[in-house]
């Protein structure tokens, strides 16, 4: 039994943020989350290119949600952008997570996407916590733990002179 309040697993099963198991699991989780989005995006690119017309249609039907008129207005006035940014955004977010580059920035956009899917799909038959919400939480976890530092390119990028000169870039990397 561990008596360390900060790390209750310290005795039986070492799970420190710099530990081998942490690195293994966070890197695995990051790559799988990235693949999930990359697959969703790249298949849309293959099928529809940058003209994913279902994107604006999906947003236009999001009436009476907690997001108010925002999704409908986006669908009506930014249709051309949505058509391109849904497949491109999903692909780039996925790619960023898989290689571990700009993971925090990519995950912020991932949270944005998942918030729209969570509200838009509204699959609340078994409560608010559904697979869309868990996906949203996965991206939040990427941001909080800076998972790009575990076997990801961000670990290398953060050692460059540019990042050392501008340490705030680590809020977008990591």
């Amino acid at each position: 039994m561990s008596y360390q309040a900060a790390n209750p697993l310290a005795d039986e099963f070492e799970f420190e943020l710099g530990g081998a198991w942490t690195a293994y699991w966070l890197a695995f989780l990051r790559v799988v989350t990235g693949w999930w989005f990359f697959h969703a995006g790249v298949t849309k690119l293959i099928e529809d290119g940058l003209a994913y017309t279902y994107g604006p249609t999906y947003l236009k039907q999001m009436t009476g949600t907690a997001l108010g008129p925002i999704p409908v207005l986006m669908g009506e006035h930014l249709g051309w952008l949505i058509q391109a940014m849904v497949p491109l955004g999903e692909t780039l977010i996925g790619l960023g997570l898989m290689v571990g580059a700009l993971v925090r920035l990519a995950s912020v956009f991932g949270v944005f996407f998942m918030a729209l899917f969570w509200i838009g799909n509204a699959g609340f038959g078994h409560g608010l916590v559904n697979s869309d919400f868990m996906g949203l939480l996965l991206f939040m976890t990427m941001i909080v733990l800076g998972t790009g530092r575990y076997y990801g390119l961000d670990a290398i990028i953060e050692k460059t002179k540019l990042v050392k000169r501008h340490p705030k870039l680590r809020y977008l990397l990591g």
């Binding site: 949600t65 907690a66 918030a115 969570w118 509200i119 609340f124 038959g125 705030k168």
Partner: protein, 98 residues
């Protein structure tokens, strides 16, 4: 390693966590106690007619969660804009070294 948290850090954690847990867990318990439907979507019969609606509007619950996420987003922007601890220390060093 001991991490130091400021009042703003603690406020962001408390407010965002509080809003999200209120929307998901607390009002989820209320929904269960209120009877069917236990989820946050209307209950329908085989004909597709709505026979029971959630007591708490899911728009309110999802809105609370979104508000929590917004607090975290604003906190992230604050961290990007505010000077880093190292930066202020370095700036102070420059002044005192003169």
């Amino acid at each position: 390693m001991q991490q130091h948290t400021t009042v703003i850090d603690k406020a962001a954690m408390a407010l965002s966590g509080g809003l999200m847990l209120l929307g998901v867990v607390v009002l989820g318990i209320v929904e269960i106690l209120a009877g069917k439907p236990y989820g946050a979507a209307p209950l329908t019969n085989d004909a597709g007619e709505i026979i029971a609606t959630p007591m708490v509007d899911p728009t309110l619950r999802t809105g609370l969660v979104l508000a929590g996420l917004l607090v975290l987003a604003l906190y992230g922007v604050y961290r990007l804009v505010a000077p880093m601890k190292g930066e202020t220390a370095a700036a102070q060093q420059e002044i005192t070294a003169d």
